[in-house]
Amino acid sequence: MSEITNFKLCDLVDKIKKKELSSKEITEAFINRSQKSTILNSYISDNFDDAINRAKEFDSKPNLNKKIPGIPMAVKDLFCTKNLRTTAGSKILENFIPTYESTVTQNILDQGGIIIGKLNCDEFAMGSSNETSYYGIVQNPISENLVPGGSSGGSSSALAAKLTPATIGTDTGGSIRQPASFTGTVGLKPTYGSCSRYGIVAFASSLDQAGPMTHDVKDCALLLEVMSSYDAKDSTSVDFVRGNYLNDLSDNIKGKKIGIPKEYRVDGMPKEIERLWEKGIKIIKDNGGDIIDISLPNTNYALPTYYIVAPAEASSNLARYDGVKYGFRSKGENLIDMYEKTRSEGFGDEVKRRIMIGTYVLSSGYYDAYYLKAQKVRRLIKNDFDEAYKKVDAILTPSTPSSAFKIGEKLNDPVSMYLNDIFTVPINLAGLPAISLPGGHDINGFPLGLQVIGKAFDEQTILNIAYSIEKNIGYKNNINDWWIK
């Protein structure tokens, strides 16, 4: 049984289609391994019993025309799942059971997927280490006491530890790509408007985007195909022709022009990351791609811009958690007192910090200086990319400025924590697609990732480039199952 969990998503689909494995066998295998891996704390809620029933149901009447027939999958606990508790990593939604299904998880169900549980994440997806979750910190299976990245830390941990064959996350400033990079897995943030936001607990509406997290690029292409759809229930969803990402996946990148932005060479970046970047450049050249030096002059302003725009939207998006309608409520003397106690006790420190920042930057007298200015800078950052894409097809950068850090290392230093998103944030501000794939290790043997950034709605090109790099870079995760006794 144990080797079933070693298979990747596409292999499992293949085995189901060839009837070499049943959905029940696969589902049980991942559930068993999940049950042995509670130390990692990847899950917030499980759906094991229901999942096994659904697997049996699938096996009794298998529909093999689906894209992920009978495949079990645990998902980030930011996606609302019908009749299955959804907490967003917060105490304020501790007992919240949605009566509805998010569009993305519905797409997974519609394509034959079976949801086996809800994965841990930073509270309301605010964090880069999964240390802000009300449901506890998550271990990176790479090494004990190492953060799995965030905010999709439960997802990256569960994926790398093979508790789920693939998973989905959400990415507002790097929340898919950074944890993928920290765990030696692949994560893709699609173009804003590709995957519906309907039913995803909102953090920052103009930046949030759901995306696949997988073991390799092929799996990533397949899962993106499943997730991405036009949805009239999300006014920011874009009705474009979605590609056959898996079918059209190709490692032929001959003639592709790939830009290298000089602004991404930051001071104090570890040598290994520098070397990894060079290695990526060499692979592209060897495969017939053209390397072109480019400039994204406003990169430096991305992080401060992000930390105005995202908290501003969050401060408003989180106003609905007031104890009145659903979720946690504290008793109060009157309405205001109830609000204050509910929100003081229901939200964690990082969420409160961002609500305060967001409220401040939107306040009258400060709006122009912060929010409005940030929106203007955001436009400039987008213009930088538009300008670059006149010359190149895609851009190659490191995913993060460092490898995974120790649990607790940055918890009390928010700015140093925020700096972790320096390479991923500009992409969200510009609404572009980007993929992180593993490329090497640092001196501690911790994974490092490369990021390929694409033009809007051109997910295929970045998948192809990543596929080509993946084939040649020879990365392998060394996970010794230290947490299973």
Binding site: Y100, Y198, G199, A232, S235, E313, S316, S363, S364
Partner: protein, 488 residues
């Protein structure tokens, strides 16, 4: 208290103060579903039965613009002779309240869907134009109910998310009569357009009233106070009168008016401070990132323009020019779309002049008496037209017609049948009339003599006698003619 002066001035000794009024009218968009969700909007449903996940702001729920509401706002804008903006933006107005599930209201702040326009008022002293500053779309909040449960406030979200148009006037109103005329005109235009039912009892039309005063002759505006959420014209007038006098009293005592938001207490007939400028909410407006800017191309707007019906001002003009009605008559008949429809129905089938008189006279008196709307009129336009035709062709006299009219009320009866069955047909046969007249003359020799000797007034006596003898059926014109001939 409320004086209908032509010029509304507040006097203290020999000092006169002018009252400056601006209105922010909240008009509920006539629409089957809400502004950003598909929930129904029916009034008076059981609490919390018209609430979707979006209206109750469940996690991950997103607003989707209801195109019909957008069209309704554009129509209204066109009816207000206003500029329709090709690009408008929905913003979030952030504040906490138990009946505001999202913790913000989606509204339009800096970029409304409709810009400047105007409304023409028909005042006794002539027309007056009132400027419109803007019209924007926004969501209504739910309703907090404090008087059902002794310890808890209950919340009904049926209204949460219903589309409202906020129509902001310029500070152009100067009297209580103008406020009355303005609200009625707005209501009339929207009812013509079918964009708001204007039902003030059900809260479909409410207003925030801005009031300031200044010494007569001074050109700059005084500090204003805003009176929130007044839901009838009468209350608006009472609130303005109270508030204007309050402000004048402050100025008279050498004080200055503080800019603040006030509430009108309908029981005590006074306004009370709700919050001052210092503790005004900071709503932290910003563009709603869940909604894209609303882009309207000219073609879309032009298509809506094609659907705009004849509005009260144009209709009035047509009634005056084509139907030769007086401006007063035309104003009355176009003021309400249903009245104008009724009038046009009747006049097409009968006679314009008679239709005007009968509708503004007998019918209005009847409706007034019964306190009902013209749509509930016990006499259909078809039967009123028949009655008028009976007068017009001489079948019955105007006087008999009034009797028939009274009989028609009970079950909208056909006047032709009534006249037939009750034998009310006018006596227009000159030979028959002559017989009656001859009898009256021979029965009253003294009066005949008196008349002939110069007592002209006695003519009426003879007419009366003839009418009496004919049970009121004699054709009065013929009676006059024959009588004159016989007596002279």
């Amino acid at each position: 208290m409320i004086k209908n002066n032509k010029e509304y001035l507040i006097k203290r000794d020999n000092r006169e103060y002018e009252v400056i009024i601006g209105l922010e009218v909240h008009a509920q968009v006539l629409s089957e579903s809400k502004l950003f969700s598909s929930s129904p909007t029916k009034f008076g449903s059981e609490p919390n039965t018209q609430v979707s996940l979006v209206d109750a702001a469940f996690p991950g729920m997103l607003p989707v613009i209801n195109e019909f509401c957008i069209k309704q706002a554009i129509k209204t804008g066109i009816g207000l002779n206003a500029k329709i903006n090709n690009r408008s933006i929905f913003d979030r107005k952030n504040y906490f309240y138990a009946d505001l599930p999202q913790g913000y209201q989606i509204s339009q702040y800096k970029n409304p869907i409709v810009g400047e326009g105007s409304v023409t008022l028909d005042m006794p002293e002539g027309e007056k134009k009132i400027g419109i500053e803007r019209l924007h779309l926004e969501q209504d909040a739910g309703k907090s109910i404090h008087d059902i449960d002794p310890r808890n406030t209950l919340v009904d979200l049926n209204r949460s998310g219903v589309a409202l148009m906020e129509i902001v006037s310029k500070p152009d109103l100067r009297s209580l009569d103008e406020v009355n005329a303005y609200i009625k005109k707005l209501r009339s235009i929207m009812r013509y357009l079918g964009t708001c039912d204007g039902n003030m009892q059900e809260g479909s039309l409410r207003a925030d009233v801005n009031v300031s005063v200044r010494k007569k002759g001074v050109s700059e505006l005084g500090t204003r106070c805003e009176i929130k959420n007044v839901n009838s014209i009468k209350f608006m007038q009472m609130a303005i009168d109270y508030e204007a006098n309050r402000q004048v009293d402050i100025l008279e005592e050498g004080g200055s008016v503080d800019q603040e938001t006030r509430l009108f207490d309908t029981k005590k007939n006074e306004t009370r401070s709700m919050r001052t400028k210092e503790d005004a909410h900071d709503y932290r407006y910003f563009p709603d990132p869940d909604l894209l800017p609303l882009e309207l191309n000219d073609e879309f707007i032009e298509d809506i323009k094609k659907d705009i019906p004849e509005l009260p001002d144009e209709k009035k003009k047509r009634f005056i020019e084509k139907f030769k009605l007086s401006p007063y008559e035309a104003t009355i008949l176009v003021s309400d779309i249903e009245t104008s429809k009724y009038f046009e129905d009747v006049s097409i089938k009968s006679d314009i002049k008679l239709a005007t008189n009968w509708i503004t006279g007998e019918l209005f008196a009847l409706l007034n008496d019964k306190s009902i709307e013209i749509t509930e009129s016990p006499i259909s336009s078809e039967n009123l037209a028949k009655l008028i035709n009976l007068i017009k062709d001489g079948t019955i006299s105007g006087k008999i017609a009034k009797t028939v009219f009274e009989m028609m009320v009970d079950g909208d009866q056909d006047p032709e049948k009534i006249v037939e069955e009750k034998g009310l047909k006018q006596q227009s046969d000159p030979k028959e009339l002559e017989k009656i007249i001859d009898k009256v003359i021979s029965d009253n020799p003294k009066n005949v003599e008196a008349y002939k000797s110069g007592k002209d007034k006695l003519f009426g006596f003879f007419v009366g006698q003839v009418m009496k003898q004919s049970n009121g059926k004699a054709n009065p014109q013929l009676v006059n003619q024959i009588l004159k001939k016989k007596l002279n």
